[in-house]
């Protein structure tokens, strides 16, 4: 049963786990879910949940978003961004397609938007239907987990 109260930090992985590297965000959430996180830090496998993600995002003070991006960089490249408005996100961020980042702007109209940190993981443009990520992206997964943990104030696991 998920919590319905305010949370300090929401680590939100986005992507389709049936689409190879496209599911890297969800893949990282699976890794994180085996690590004990401090109170107030929650993990969520967001899938491609679009509007369904507004509720968890709205009750978080801060959101750490992990998603795949097709930005021409070598697969596995990680970019940390602190976007404020929809236009600050990479255009080809896959979450863009579900309109999620556009809706983040609605938070500004509603007042009190969460602070968003984005880890954009570069992937190749064509993804096959397959479960699990490619070796190139897999090599970056451990590093991304460390970065995210440091970001939310936890040292990397020994």
């Amino acid at each position: 049963m998920s919590n319905t109260n305010q949370c300090d930090v929401l680590i939100l992985g986005i992507g389709n786990m049936l689409m190879g590297d496209e599911g890297v965000g969800v893949h990282i959430i699976e890794k994180l879910s085996s690590i004990e996180l401090p109170e107030g830090v929650e993990c969520l496998d967001g899938g491609t949940g679009s509007f369904l993600l507004l509720e968890p995002m709205q009750r978080a003070r801060r959101v750490v978003l992990i998603d795949a991006t097709i930005d021409g960089q070598p697969p596995g490249t990680v970019t940390r961004l602190t976007p404020k408005y929809a236009k600050d996100y990479p255009r080809t961020l896959t979450a863009h397609d579900i309109g999620l980042k556009d809706l983040l702007d609605a938070f500004y109209l509603l007042g009190d938007p969460p602070e968003v940190t984005l880890y954009a993981v570069s992937i190749a443009p064509l993804q096959e239907m397959r479960i699990g990520v490619s070796p190139e992206v897999e090599r970056s997964v451990g590093r991304i987990v460390e970065l995210v943990l440091e970001d939310v104030g936890i040292g990397a696991p020994a």
């Binding site: 049963m1 998920s2 319905t4 389709n16 786990m17 049936l18 689409m19 496209e22 496998d45 967001g46 899938g47 491609t48 949940g49 679009s50 509007f51 369904l52 993600l53 507004l54 509720e55 709205q58 408005y85 929809a86 236009k87 896959t94 863009h96 397609d97 579900i98 309109g99 556009d102 809706l103 983040l104 702007d105 609605a106 500004y108 109209l109 509603l110 007042g111 096959e128 239907m129 397959r130 479960i131």
Partner: protein
């Protein structure tokens, strides 16, 4: 001749692109193409049928729960499992919740901006907006101060240059007909709907354990009922669900329906545009006496041909001659030849991409041009979705549906024929929401009564063990996603999935032409649609959005020489 290309980009149900030919200010032909390959079928082969729901739930980011429902049903159908009454009720509650939430979100967040001019709202008089709001509804958030405050926030937002969600509208386009006050009221409700929708989905978390991917279970539902147990469906959780349902009824009846009627009143001309196909089909859902008794469904099953509401045909998903998928214009190959149709139990998913390498300007529509197969019912192209459900129920003589339809037509002073249109599709979505939210309350009350009478079973273990299964069996699980008829077909062999095929609503509506050259619903609905300004084709958005494609979109425009003019994105 201008060729307008609508190229929606999404991963939700597959990318979709539409190419429309415009002559003399009207669309004369249209082609719809799914540009992303799907291959769930391949991923599922060889897996345990009891796990399939967890994979197909990922087929769509919006309709997670209905794909899971179709999946557990198809396995139960194959293994002849009947679920306990509480499981039927809880599944119905999940279904209704999703439909109500999805329809409200569609109306306000995916479709309203085709009719509502945000920038015009800045010119509204807050006092006059308050009078307007109070004249159509008892909804309490309607004071002049409330609208004045919202207008100020909107102005700050627009002045900041961060239009964001509102950046891609064709503000000021002459096709926008609402007065500034109606626009301001609609913007207020756009934001209120955003707040409300995040509450109602908690019903899925309560019964499904988590969201956006709630848990399902072959043989029942994966939650136990125990009024005293903190970890089960207990009194506190049931009370919470009751409150969420009550709030949903209030929101639908006091906000959504009055807004829909007010906005529709300004756009009655759209009651004669965008009709498209003359055939409609619904699989139906919301069983009240078991999935194998379609006559007990709240949403009846059936097909209508040539808009004849005096006759409804039965639809049988198991009959090999009824539902077939064609690939004459799809990037697949069949072992029986590409001109033949295959029933989903014998379905094949062998890719055969012959299209151009992206990026490209135009598709070769004479040959194969889509990743979507073309499903047909007895070789007829069918529209699926809210309008099809409402028409099938109306034609079946369903009293509740007849009443709301008749009342609405009278209120808008439009003829029955106005249903066969873009406006009719949008209105049908609202009308069924009004019914579904009442049914939701009914199923909840039935669940409480059942529990009070001592029935707490939510799962049947009989047939859980694969050693009790036949060596080979087949099933079909039919349901209604918010955007239309959805079914999964399974063939189980030696306890494993031998074949699994999904035919989703977007495949019915958005598929390419069939072997006979007959257009599917999107293609047909665009023919005849007027486009006042091909640089700002808001008319195309209105009709395509009326189907509720769960797609984020991009429009590419071409001048008569085929040169790229510009690209406009919309959601």
């Amino acid at each position: 001749m201008a060729r307008v290309v609508v190229d929606p980009i999404t991963r939700i149900e597959g990318h979709l692109r539409i190419e429309a030919v415009i002559e003399g200010g009207k669309i004369t032909d249209a082609y719809s193409s799914g540009t992303m390959v799907r291959g769930f079928e391949k991923i599922l082969k060889g897996r345990d049928p009891r796990d399939a729901w967890a994979f197909v739930e990922r087929a769509c980011g919006v309709c997670t729960t209905v794909h899971a429902l179709a999946s557990v049903r198809t396995v139960e159908d194959a293994l002849k499992i009947s679920v306990p009454k509480n499981a039927e009720l809880i599944r119905n509650i999940m279904f209704c919740t999703q439909m109500v939430q999805d329809h409200v979100v569609h109306f306000y967040h995916l479709h309203a901006l085709d009719w509502v001019d945000i920038v015009s709202a800045l010119k509204a008089d807050p006092a006059a907006t308050s009078s307007l709001a109070q004249s159509i509804s008892n909804w309490p958030k309607s004071s002049p101060g409330y609208f004045s405050d919202l207008q100020k926030r909107l102005k700050t937002f627009v002045d900041s240059g961060q239009l964001g969600i509102f950046a891609n509208g064709y503000w000021g386009h002459p096709a926008y007909k609402l007065p500034p006050e109606a626009n301001l009221m609609a913007v207020a409700h756009y934001l209120e709907a955003l707040e409300w929708q995040k509450e109602i989905v908690k019903v899925h978390t309560i019964f499904g354990g988590k969201n956006p991917h709630p848990n399902y279970l072959v043989g029942g539902v994966p939650c136990s009922i125990n009024l005293e147990d903190v970890n089960a469906i207990n009194t506190e959780r049931l009370n919470h669900v009751g409150k969420l349902i009550k709030d949903a009824m209030t929101f639908v009846n006091q906000v959504y329906i009055p807004d829909l009627m007010a906005i529709a009143g300004f756009y009655k001309d759209w009651g004669a545009i965008g009709g498209g196909l003359r055939n409609y089909m619904a699989y139906g859902d919301l069983p009240t006496a078991g999935y194998n008794q379609p006559e007990s469904f709240k949403f009846p099953r059936g097909a209508i041909l040539d808009r004849n509401l005096n006759e409804v045909y039965d639809v049988n998903g198991r009959d090999g001659e009824e539902i077939k998928e064609y690939i004459s214009h799809s990037w697949y190959k069949y072992t029986v030849g590409d001109e033949k149709g295959l029933h989903p139990w014998n379905g094949e998913t062998e890719f055969n991409f012959t299209g151009p390498k992206p990026p490209f300007e135009q598709l070769d529509v004479e040959g194969k041009y889509s990743w979507l197969k073309t499903p047909r019912w007895k070789d007829h192209p069918m529209e699926v979705g809210p309008l099809a459900r409402v028409l099938v129920a109306y034609a079946r003589g369903n009293a509740e549906v007849k009443e709301v339809v008749t009342e609405t037509l009278a209120k808008l002073a439009v003829p029955v024929d106005a249903l066969f249109s873009t406006l009719g599709r949008t209105a049908a979505r609202g009308l069924e929401t009004k019914l579904v939210v009442n049914w939701l309350k009914g199923f909840y009350d039935d669940l409480l009564a059942n529990i009070k009478s001592g029935q707490v079973s939510t799962f049947t273990r009989e047939k859980w063990d694969p050693s009790t299964w036949p060596a080979e069996c087949e099933g079909v699980g039919m349901t209604e996603a918010p955007r239309g008829a959805l079914a999964h077909w399974i063939r189980i062999k030696d306890g494993k999935i031998d074949n699994y095929q999904l035919v989703v609503p977007s495949t019915w509506n958005a598929s390419p032409r069939d072997a006979k050259g007959q257009r599917s619903a999107y293609e047909e609905s665009l023919v005849g649609t007027p486009v006042a300004n091909s640089e700002q084709p808001v008319e195309i958005l209105r009709t395509i959005h009326s189907f509720d494609p769960c797609l984020a979109c991009a429009v590419h425009l071409y001048d008569p020489e085929g040169r790229h003019i510009h690209r406009v994105e919309f959601n």
